[in-house]
Amino acid sequence: MNFRTETIAGDVAAIRADGRLNMVSAPLLRQVVSDAITAGSVRIVVDLSGVDFMDSSGLGALIGGLKLARQAGGDLRIAGATPQVALVFELTHLDRILQNHATAETAYRD
């Protein structure tokens, strides 16, 4: 599992994830989100287009990141969910909390 953080659209931290988001990699994602917020980026988008698998621990890390971002006065959004990731969001009803955006670049275009 790889995470790469870059700044897009001025002040949005885009975290590009690749691989499986599971009990091994979920704590790393939590840390990467926390690092981005500490570095001053409170508007975060996690690009999931390279994540071919996510389980409930990955979901937990995204919720944890969302809470951290909100506490810092910002937000966390997701983009590019693949079919398996979208299924997990749908079954757990968390697609109401974290709506998927087509791409990281469009996630804050509202």
Partner: protein
């Protein structure tokens, strides 16, 4: 398709959930007649279940477990037998925690992804079985 029953013996550490998922994908990959929704639902349920087993053992000195997968024309099923302490898992109707909870969704998710989940204690081991009926090919 031909019936198959491959088995993986797992020992954590050093094995982890990626070992399990590599095995599941390797087993299912050649079976192109398994439709997408059955494949991702079964794989997700099995990874959730194995994560649960590994996590509950992690507090101790690791765990040995045996995972077997069975598939035929009608269903996909898996059995995990582990050496962990007696599980105190109560399966009920699937229910999810608060929206902002960071854990506690695994078992409910498993119950939604497969048609049956069973747990029993057999000869000092925890034995889990899950099964999902297959959709016919479109």
């Amino acid at each position: 398709m031909t019936d198959f029953d491959p088995t993986l013996a797992l020992s954590t550490p050093p094995d982890d959930i990626d070992t399990v998922q590599d095995f599941v994908q390797r087993v299912l990959e050649p079976h192109t007649d398994i439709v997408g929704i059955d494949r991702i639902s079964f794989e997700t349920a099995l990874v959730e279940l194995a994560s649960n087993v590994i996590q509950h053992a992690a507090a101790g000195t690791g765990i040995t477990c045996v995972l077997s997968i069975h598939a035929d024309d009608h269903e996909l099923s898996a059995r995990i037998s582990d050496s962990g302490a007696a599980g105190a898992v109560i399966l009920s109707a699937p229910s999810f925690p608060d929206d902002l909870a960071e854990s506690g969704r695994g078992l409910a998710l498993i119950e939604m992804l497969v048609d049956s989940v069973h747990f029993e204690r057999v000869a000092g081991r925890n034995v889990w079985t899950i099964s999902r009926a297959r959709h016919p090919l479109p």
